[in-house]
């Protein structure tokens, strides 16, 4: 790296506020991340507007169900070709991704947030879900 380069100066002085060149960020940049979720058939069902307009916390589970944190479209897999995240019998932990909810083109990976075993998938792939709607039943 050239001594007078703007980016080098910043790296010395400021840490983050820098112009980085390829490979100068190796310690942080991950290996290529998984591809974006792919949805071949566009979901297009009516989803009634959220009832309340004031921010409110999503109801927390008592361990029996996994619920949707928002109004959106439910997807069981990251792409139509991919296997579902969770099937009946799948063991889940707090960190296990169980589905994707898409809302306003925002892709939200939903985690189980509890330990258990999936007993039943309550929603059909590609269909609309409401805020707080149960998605999975656990046993």
């Amino acid at each position: 790296m050239k001594k007078n380069d703007l980016s080098v100066f910043k790296m010395e002085k400021e840490g983050f506020k820098i112009t980085l060149k390829r490979n100068e960020f190796d310690g942080i940049v991950p290996a290529p991340a998984p591809a974006a979720p792919v949805y071949a058939s566009a979901p297009a069902q009516a989803a009634p507007p959220a009832a309340a307009s004031a921010p409110a916390a999503a109801p927390k589970e008592a361990g029996k169900e996994i619920t949707s944190p928002m109004v959106g479209t439910f997807y069981r897999a990251p792409s139509p070709e991919a296997p579902a995240y969770a099937e009946p019998g799948t063991e889940v932990t707090e960190e296990t991704v169980v589905c994707i909810i898409e809302a306003m083109k925002m892709m939200n990976e939903i985690k189980a947030e509890t330990k258990g075993v999936i007993a039943e998938v309550l929603v059909e792939n590609g269909t609309p879900v409401q805020f707080g709607q149960a998605l999975f039943r656990l046993r």
């Binding site: 910043k10 506020k17 979901p43 989803a47 959106g72 925002m106």
Partner: protein, 315 residues
Amino acid sequence: MRPLSLDARLLRLLRENPGGDIAEKLGVPPESARDRIRVLREAGYAIEDNRLIAAPDRLIADDILSRLDQPGFVREIIVFEETGSTNDVAAQLGRGGAAEGLVVFAERQTSGRGRLGRRWESSAGRGLWFSLLARPQFSMRFWPRLTTWAAVAVARGIEDSTPCEGKIKWPNDIYVAGKKAAGILTETQMDGNPFAVAGIGVNINQEAADFPDSLHGKAGSLLMAAGRPLDRMEIAAKILRRLDAAYPLIESGFEKIVAEARARSFLEGRWVEIGSEQGVVEGLDEEGGLLLRKPDGRLITLRGGEATPAGEKRL
């Protein structure tokens, strides 16, 4: 409040309050000011008589920061010459605990992508490819509002900095002169320290021939609409200023953002097909969802799907 670096303060001074004793204005020794001006010149800036004449056609974090007000949503800017996808980098930094307000730019993305895993053409140095890291403090239920926030800011930022008019094709694409010129892909991670990454791509200085055949007639650039090359760094700064200004409204005052989105709607009043639904677009609901009047007269709200306008067919 982010402290501006010496270079950012210097650039702001050269732009807004030029001439005179720059070192004194900055409160640094004269040799420091001279040294930084030399470094800026080497980076491509034209500076005469302590006055900024021209900036290079290259994204420089300090320069963009120097054009923003403080405090705002944007707190840190990182510029890569090249990266796979700025969304992936921002998400990785988010998982590592990076604070809200981080913005990751890349001059070139090797695997820029849009929704549906589609490739997003991210030619080197011709557009803006960047991602914002947000950690909203309100319920995730309302996080999808971020899409509309970003779309309006991109459209307004384009209008602030170019002769172009930005139309929003609900909910996440920006059309200029009838062609898609910008897009937004938002992704979230919802666990212990949840965050959202909003990736924004803006086609600026591409010529029609720069787009692959498959995008001909569909994708456009601001250059193609304006008829001349445009200042990428200025457009970046204007979009970030709009994002800064509107961020608090996402939680409180979202109806103002929705009104801006509706005023720029590419689909308003048009007959569209979205999956199995079709009808005439009649505005947006309070969360930015699309209101569609079906042939049977029912009004439904859509929060997802790919809208395909079918000419001007009316009910």
